[in-house]
Symmetry: C2
């Protein structure tokens, strides 16, 4: 009972802070899941990869927690439009973080196949690409915590670097496959890993857009995309 | 003014019906985008593919409309927990439909590269796979419109067929790439097309799970997944 009355006198701001804390935890977990998945892939550590796949359930549980919290806050507080928009944005961000977790899990799942194959030179770009997307997530979460539109806006261009990594990796992997059929299986899986990282970069940047929108009420200008891989035809 | 007072006397049920109608439109548009994208790919119709890419903006606009409607309904009606959960579910479904649209757009974008290459035999599975996922979306929307838990539950197993198509296509395309380097580029793009269809099937099935949950308050049992492609190593 004491707990219940303590709960009911909590302010709306405290409720929102609790919801935002769940999202910050999701973001931190996404960062470690991506770094760990790429480490497991590069170091051919199949056991570590299995742990990452298992850990993804924590992100699913945190998303469900964010949703339950949001519904409770809305039902208890009947917030006005601006506060509601913030809650809806928080829900969407939680959904994006859960998806980012799925992409990290998919990278980890490919570690065992890649571990069976010969190392491929272009694979060295993957940890760099992972660092770039983890940096975007970290800075996006900082902008989210500080409700800082300028910080969010500064992030929006960085997804282009990720797309450039992806384009370059896509071309090199196709070339490797052409040269030697033994490279086809590992290259195919690395193509999907690169695609997963490209998707993570895109989703993290969409969170920066939401942070910007929530802070300013304005949509940022449409950001340029640099992913041209859907039209790449390898030289033969 | 007349419009405003007409609006304010509308019932909560009418508001929800309007939100659900937006989602039904999104679902219908997803079905046609997927079918049209696969037709453009198979028929090497690059002009049709460009129209599909352009049409995706309508799905983005409908998602924004669903979000604005949901925020307005919550702000005006201060709905109780059950109704709120239905609105939150509708928001999530709109988000999933927007993502499904993105996958269809990505399929369309690959049409021009695939059109430059020699036809590949395993590509004949792609229209079959597309029909399977479009069927899942159509039946999921029927279950959503009728709030029919039994119908939603019947859909949950069907994603396994889609995963089986994907496994089979993944293996055949790897084999084709091994046999002839000329097949590497088109096969790679068809692998991504197949992956997009697999993701669409998975997302559409997650909507069926949400429909089931909204209708019954119970989460369905965890569905078995049949996508083993992340561990496939091609024979050499």
């Amino acid at each position: 009972m004491a707990e219940f009355s303590a709960h009911t006198v909590k302010s709306f701001d405290e409720d929102i802070a609790q919801l935002r804390a769940v999202i910050t935890r999701m973001g931190g977990l996404c960062e470690s899941q991506i770094s760990d998945a790429v480490d497991a892939l590069v170091n051919r550590n199949v056991e570590a990869a299995a742990v990452i796949v298992e850990n993804d359930k924590r992100l699913d549980a945190l998303e469900a927690e964010a949703e339950a919290l949001a519904v409770r806050i809305i039902a208890l507080r009947a917030p006005m439009a601006d506060d509601l928009r913030e809650i809806v944005a928080a829900l969407k961000i939680a959904g994006v973080m859960e998806r980012i977790g799925d992409y990290a899990k998919n990278i980890a799942k490919r570690a065992s196949v890649v571990a069976q194959a010969q190392p491929i030179a272009p694979a060295v770009i993957i940890p760099e690409m992972a660092r770039a997307v983890v940096g975007i997530i970290r800075d996006t979460l900082d902008a989210f915590v500080d409700r800082d539109a300028a910080k969010a806006s500064a992030i929006l261009q960085r997804d282009q670097q990720v797309d450039e990594f992806y384009n370059s990796l896509f071309r090199s992997l196709l070339t490797f496959m052409m040269e030697n059929p033994h490279y086809i299986t590992p290259s195919t899986h690395l193509l999907f890993v690169a695609k997963n990282l490209e998707r993570i970069g895109d989703h993290a940047t969409s969170v920066a857009e939401m942070v910007y929108f929530t802070a300013t009420g304005q949509r940022p200008a449409e950001r340029p995309k640099n992913d041209f891989t859907s039209t790449i035809y390898a030289p033969q």
